[in-house]
Structures are given as structure tokens and as C-alpha cells.
């Protein structure tokens, strides 16, 4: 955290990689007073990225803190700020404030089996966590990754899949919503795959991240499968401006998504209103 909470540091774009047709991944180096500075963070945290003169957006960090080097952000073009980001080139400067938010409770997750469930761009925050888990493979039990998207070309971070599959005691289950040419994997919505796999709760934590409708069904299915509310972890999305619990926008119940979240256990979610 920089000393003046609303003043961003400079994030210099080092490279840009296409994730899907509407999503780019920016690799940035953080600079302060013209010098590169380290940036430490936890999986699941986010940062406020800004295009100077256009605005600021909260974007989750998709790189992994266990791997030294640049910080990565996957940005889907949805509004003005993200559109402006998509028009940037390597060498350009973004503003960055962060890391913000609570991140995943990695220490408490140690020693457990983990079921990752992700849909679409929802894999962006999970990717950091998955790589964290795989980098500390011995600290965790069995790993299952269920990931789905509408179509094969909308699967994010496809370059990671082979590495994940190759990791010990790790399985990757990919799915797309509807049959498509050249796709030999399973077809169906993510909740259906969750049901089909029917991984028993036991010592397992489920971490789900994706569009609200997917989360809704996944949570129901997990509850039906006997997962306890404490063992289900998800992330919430809400409009944010300051990212530090002051501007008041992301307030739901007594929580502020930006500081109390975005990662919540289902047991915590049940203490706040379900509609906002």
C-alpha cells in the first residue's frame, strides 16, 4: 500500500497477451519515482488499475505471488476504462493501487483437498490461486479443476492447462456450453459437471468463481452434496471506486466487498443480505 491511499503508482506495461477475443492479459512492472519496486500480494487480491484521464477499474491479479517477476492482469473489455486499456501498447503507463482486498485464506486451506470451479473470466482470480497451490504442491491434497466457458475459444489461459494436467494428483475438467467443431472434451454447463463428478466433501474445500448464475447453481449443488458452508469459498463482484472501504459503493450489509472481500466463505455470505 502506498502511503497516500488515492495516489497510484505507475504500472508499466511490459507485454500484452491475448487471452480471448475480448480479453487481454497485461504484464506490468510496478514503478515508483521512476524506479521498479517490488509488489507483493496474495492470491485472490486485486488492484485498482487506471488509465490516466479515463478512469480506474478494480481488476483481479491473475499472476502468482510465488513466482517472482511481473504482475499479470487479465482485462475483459466491458466499459470505457477497459476499452482504453485495450488500446494501450507495451511501454505505456497505467496507474496501479494495490494490492487490495483480503485474498484467499491460503494458510487455512493447507492440508486440504481442493476443488476449483470456474466459469469464463472467473478463472482469472483462480489462476493465481491454482498456480500458488501447484507451486506449493506438497502443502495441499488432491486438486480438481472444473472450468467451463461458452465456447472453446473463450476458455481463458489455455496455455496453462497442460501444465496443470501434468501436476501430481491434479485433474482438469474442461467443458463448454454447447457442442462446437473441433471440440472433443465434455459439453455442458459447469454445475452439471460438478454434479457429474460428484466429488465428496470429506477434507475438501470448494473454491468457485464465475458468473452469478453459475455460482448460484454450484452453491446449491455443493450444499446438496454435503459441503459445509465453511468449506465453500467464492468471490463477490460489486462496483468499487476507492478499493479501501471508504467510498461506500461496495457496501453490502455490514461488509465492504473491497476490504472484507472479495473472497468470502459461504458461511460469511449467509450473514449478509442476499440481495443488495
Amino acid at each position: 500500500m502506498n502511503e497516500l491511499m488515492m495516489i497510484p503508482l505507475i504500472a508499466r506495461i511490459r507485454s500484452i497477451r491475448e487471452v480471448t477475443f475480448d480479453t487481454l492479459m497485461f504484464e506490468v512492472a510496478i514503478e515508483k519515482d521512476g524506479k521498479e519496486v517490488p509488489f507483493s500480494y496474495l492470491p485472490g487480491q486485486f488492484a485498482e488499475l487506471s488509465v490516466f484521464g479515463v478512469g480506474e477499474s478494480p481488476i483481479s491479479i491473475t499472476s502468482t505471488c510465488t513466482r517472482p517477476g511481473l504482475v499479470e492482469f487479465a482485462v475483459r473489455e466491458v466499459g470505457l476504462v477497459t476499452e482504453a486499456m485495450h488500446n494501450m501498447r507495451p511501454g505505456d503507463n497505467m496507474g496501479i493501487r494495490g494490492p487490495l482486498g483480503n485474498g484467499f485464506p491460503v494458510d487455512e486451506m493447507k492440508g486440504k483437498d481442493i476443488l476449483f470451479i470456474a466459469g469464463g473470466i472467473g478463472l482469472a482470480p483462480l489462476r493465481g490461486l491454482i498456480n500458488y497451490v501447484l507451486d506449493n504442491r506438497s502443502d495441499f491434497g488432491a486438486v480438481d479443476i472444473i472450468y467451463g466457458a461458452r465456447a472453446p475459444n473463450l476458455l481463458c489461459f489455455d496455455w496453462e492447462f497442460d501444465t496443470w494436467k501434468a501436476a501430481p494428483d491434479t485433474r482438469v475438467h474442461l467443458t463448454i456450453d454447447a457442442p462446437a467443431a473441433g471440440w472433443n472434451g465434455s459439453v455442458g454447463f459447469v454445475p452439471a459437471i460438478v454434479k457429474e463428478l460428484a466429488l465428496p466433501p470429506g477434507n475438501r474445500l470448494a473454491v468457485a468463481c464465475g458468473p452469478p448464475i453459475m455460482i448460484k447453481y454450484v452453491l446449491e449443488d455443493l450444499a446438496a452434496a454435503g459441503y459445509r458452508d465453511e468449506d465453500v469459498i467464492t468471490t463477490l463482484e460489486m462496483k468499487m471506486k476507492c478499493g479501501v472501504g471508504k467510498c461506500g459503493r461496495c457496501n453490502i450489509g455490514a461488509k465492504y466487498i473491497c476490504v472484507d472481500g472479495p473472497v468470502f466463505r459461504l458461511s460469511e455470505l449467509k450473514t449478509i443480505p442476499s440481495e443488495y
Binding site: F21, D22, E77, H86, N87, M88, R89
Partner: protein
Amino acid sequence: MSRVKVGVFVCHCGSNIGGTVDVPDVVEYAKDLPLVHYSEDNLYTCSDAGLTAIKEKIKEHGLNRVVVASCTPRTHEELFRRTCEEAGVNRYLFEFVNLREHCSWIHMNQPQEATCKAKELVRLGAAKAARLRPLEIARAQIKPACLVIGGGVAGLSAAGSLAQQGFEVHLVERNDRLGGLTVDLWKLLPGDRPASELLHTLTARVTKNDNVTLYLSSELNEITGFIGSFKATLSTPSGKKDIEIGTVIVATGAVELEPLGLYNLGKTEGVITQMGLEKMLSDGRKDLGDVVFINCAGARGPDREYCGRLCCAVSIKNARYLKEADPDARVTVLQRDVMAFGTEFETEYRKAMCAGVRFIRFSPDRPPTTIGNDKVTGVRIYNQLTGEESDLSANTVVLTTPLAADSGASDLAQMLKVPVDKDGFFLEAHLKLRPVEFATDGVFIAGAARFPADIGEAVAQGTAAAAKAAAPMFAGEVSVEATTALTNPRLCSGCATCEAVCPFGAIEITQDRHGRPVSEVNAVMCKGCGACAAACPCGAIQQLGFTDSQIFEMVRSLARDGDPSGSEG
């Protein structure tokens, strides 16, 4: 959604631009503009070398927006758009900046200021270019069938002409016979041809052609759609009938005004209208005695301001027939002034005068009055010049009344979404520039429905409308303006302001799936003027290629992005 990469090509145009504006300086300036990836100058951008350069640079740098700063879009826009297209960039991702007509030529003695202005113009162009979105030119299929509404002379001419050209024609006539007003006419000017003869020719052309489907005693009930694909419902004696057509010609004609009470019309025997006279003449009656015509009856007054145009010619014609038929009868035409336009009518006028028809001017301040209680015996007229009142003997008084709009015209106008003027006549797109056409594509107008027309004019207009309607039907499709209006239903309040201001009837308020009113633009009918976009308070309707966002960005950049001659440059 790929990244915006603007390329800027600045033209010297020989010395036309380069002689005044420091082109290399402008190129350098352009390089620093937001999202501009490449910038160069060309001696002549429109030359083969220039066009090739554009194409090469598009490929080399992955440019996806092109700005050419050279002359006026009025001459070269199409050329550069095609060039972009050839290089795989959508033709609407091109923006033209006019440095010649709008800068170098008009500031020839101020090279410094001109250069500064050129930079700003390029900046605005690049700002707009960055916000351009690809657009598609839509095409609409045209069904080669035409609905002609009205079986008078104009309608018959139009229908005949189209049928001869091989198009399917649906001719709808309200009455049980064709011919309209002409049916009741006796002889036609010029040439004293019997009206029936002409009518026979015109009717035969239609009835003998298999391409024409005739609907007598029928009316148009409903019509929807737009150029190329209208759907109409007719009510015919044999029930409702649905037809599909590509074009529509309105030839509903007009009616003769019968101003009951005026000059005792309908009260005193012997006071009749021209149409009444024509019928009498057709029936062979010639025993009319002394006849006085009163022209401008019901026209050119406060209630009906327009001149009936044909009335003078009609009264001249009939007065001469009467005089010739009975040289002893006194035939007098009371007129406010005589409008015998064209040499033919002028000759007719002289013939009538020479035949002994008296033309006497009266003033609207003291109009003539008829004499006689039950039966008319004369007309009292005041002579302005002599200041004398005198009586003319008359056994028959003929009122020359103008043609007036049919009372059904306004309903039809609403159905077709075309305008009528204050007298109820249909209003064409432009009196001089676009006659016989409506602003609405695919709908045309001919004959007296447009304004009082004589037979010759009705024939000419009918044929002209047929020619206009034939053009798109021959082509089989029309390409549609790409820079049309488009509604964003999320922002639309359904207030119908856009519908009201659209001159082309291209916008309609429909309901969205929640039953809320929402405006919908028919892209085929839209001409892309943008009047709706400026009127919409919500900013819900936008003109593609000229969106609020694009124009705003230009304004913002002009106002806020600094003066290139200053330190920021």
C-alpha cells in the same frame, strides 16, 4: 475488439497544401496523437503511389483506422474508402480531413496559422477515427410489383407504363369504373379530342395487359413495410385481399369543389359547375342560351388560397364550344385574371376571344352576383374601371371551381406516413429537386392528388412516377445508407420524439418484451440525416458514423487538448 491503431496520411497535393502548410510538421504532430500508430506524408495521396502506400502501411502496421488529410470528402472519400476496403479495413473506419479547401487555400498568406490549424484538424480527425466502428451497407430486396392507388388518368398512365415494362401492377380504384374525373369530360384541350377517346387508349393499355391486376370498387385498407417489401390489404367486392409489393404510386386524384350556396349554387336553377356543364355537353345539350362563367369560384380566397390552375383553361375551352355551337348566344367569362399558361392554352384563349367569347374582369372585393330567384336570369357585375354596375343576361351560370383534395387523402397519408399540405394535397419530397417522389423511399405521387393537374400533366406525372418506381424494381435491390440511426433500447424512454421529427417515417414506437414503448428505426427507410439523434433527450438514438460520442470527442479534443502552436505542441 482489437486495439485501435490509427494511421494518418497527410497529402501535399503538390503545392496546393504543401505550399502553405508545413506538411512534415503536421505529420510529426500526428505521431504523438492518442492511438495514432503511424503517420506519413504523400505528394499526392490520391495517386496510385499514395493509395498503394495506404494499403501497404495498413498491412505493415496493422492499422485499423485510416485518416487521410487532403482535400474534400466530396470528391475523394469514396476512393479512399475503397482503398481501405481493399486493404481489409472496413470502409467506414476511414475519416477524411480537409486541409486543402478548408485550410491551405483559404489561408494562403498565413502559413504558420494554417499549419497550426491543419494540426488541429488532423487531431480532430484522429479523435473521431479512434471512435469509429465498422458499419455494413445493408441491401434490401425489391419485389418487382407496384401498387397504384387510383385509376384516373395518372394512375392509368403509371400502371400502363409499368405493365409495359413487365412489372406486376396492382391497380386499385374506388369506383366501379376506370378514368376518374375524366369519365365525365367531353372534349379535351388542346386539339378538341373527345375525352372518351384518350380514356379508351389508356384503359385498353391497362386492361389488355396481363401484368395488371385490376381491383374496381376497392380500397386500400392497410399498408405496412418499406421500399422493396410493402404489405397491403385491400378491401374488394370479393372480400379482403393481401398483396405484397415493392413500390407504391399514389394517384388518388382530386375532386371538383362544389361550394354549395356560393353564387346560389344549388339554390337557383341554372347555376351549375364546370363538371355539370361537361356532363351536359357530353349528353349533347347545347340549348343553354346566354352563358356566364364565373371563374375562381371558391378559390384564391381566405378559405382556399391556392389557384386551381386548370380552371381558366377549362372555362376558355367550354366557353368557345358554346359560342361556336350557338354564335348568337352571349357567352361571357368573368375572371379575376386569366392563367392560360403555355402557348397551347394561350392560343386557345385567343381563339375563344376571337370567337366572340367575352372576358370580363371582376374584383374579389365586389364579386358578381346572380340575378333571378328560381331560375337564373342574369349576372350583375361591377366594372372597376368605369365604376359602373351592369347586368349581363344569362340563362346558365357556370361556376369554375378548383379541384380540391379528396377527403380520404389524409387517412391515406397517415397510412403511408407521407405528408400532406395545408390544403390536403400530398406533399412531394421537393417541388423542384424531387418531384413525383415522397421523402419516403418507394412511395411516389402523380396527378391531381399532388396538386390540380390537367390531363396532359397527369399523364406525364403518371409516366414519371412509373419511371421512378421502375428504377429500384429493375435493380432488384437498393443499397441502404450505412450511417443510419439506431436505437439503444436500454436508453430509450419511448417518448416518440424521434418518431415525430423523422422526415422519412422511418421510426416507429413499438413495444419491447416487457411491453414498454421503445423506438425502432427501419434502416431501409432511414436516410441518415441524424435529426432524431439530435432530438432524443436520452441520447438513446444515435446516427452511426456521427454518434454523440464521436462528435463529442471532436468537440472535447478541440476545446481541451491544447493549442498545437503553443507549448504543448
